[in-house]
Subunit: 102 residues, 4 copies
């Protein structure tokens, strides 16, 4: 089952800067070879449900192994059977409508 | 890896009442035998990452098989290595603090 | 505009136990007098959009005043014009369907 | 209070294509004049808490006025007092770390 997902990993470390932990997480998501797009409050990823979830599990495991005691992740995930859609499609159709109306 | 998760499944069905789809989803989560708690904007579940995610996948598949063309799910999931914690623990510690301060 | 909302506040404090911060947050939400239900991964609240958001703003402000340098909140919020629905309605209709099918 | 937020509006209409509703929502967020970045599963926005929330309220109101009976929105929002940070900062620091490690 193919999904589009948006993942935001929040490591609860002993510090407020978590950029290194986020870079580690994004790096693991990229290792899947799936399309991955970073934004300011999460990361879009597109691919098979099992592959995405296995990568997310590796993210939690790797952060714990790097000393992060607690992690809270939020995720949006969508699947559809009426048509195939990519990350770029989703952004594109809305941007075209905004251009037309703007 | 054990997680506490909170899952909110939004079926895009073409009607505004989605209670039957939600009941189907919660029923599938309960079939795991894991602790499951329904609230007004989602469902808490506690257990192994792979078991929770396999159940979530079955939810999407079952809804699609029942004619739902599109599903958008949001999920919070937490893991920790500093101590073991259950769904009931999490609610209990906060409620005790509120009782003391109230 | 009336909304049903589910709010999960994650204080990034430098420690992994955040129960006191969560209790403070839930206490502020309760001060609204609106229906508030705590669960293991967030808090349901039901009421006017502006009242709920003003309370959420006070939560962030109070946590910052208590020394929390950084806060990440996730929120689900729903509004509808086809009928009026309460937090208890939402849980009740799904539980009745589960009872019937079980 | 300044926040970085990520907003995903899900209109429950009688159809599975909701691109026009999403474009309407993004257009209203842009009318604030605040930095707004569209991605495949939501929209980043940066600005004053009250301004962002007032815009989100107008989004729900406008969609209801356009016939959408029910809307479910998910939102992440972060505030911090240890330093000022923009949407572009957040993406930039992670991308630089990824470039260095890659």
């Amino acid at each position: 089952m193919k999904i589009l997902a948006d993942i935001c990993v929040t490591p609860l470390t002993g510090k407020t800067s978590v950029r290194e932990e986020i870079a580690l997480a994004v790096g693991i998501l990229r290792e899947t070879g799936l399309p991955v797009r970073l934004h300011a409050y999460g990361t879009n990823i597109e691919g098979d449900f099992d592959v995405v979830m296995a990568a997310l599990k590796r993210v939690h495991e790797a952060l714990h192994e790097n000393g992060v005691p607690r992690i809270s992740t939020t995720m949006r995930l969508g699947s559809r059977i009426d048509k195939d859609q990519t990350l770029d499609d989703k952004v594109g159709v809305v941007e075209r409508l905004l251009d037309e109306s703007g």
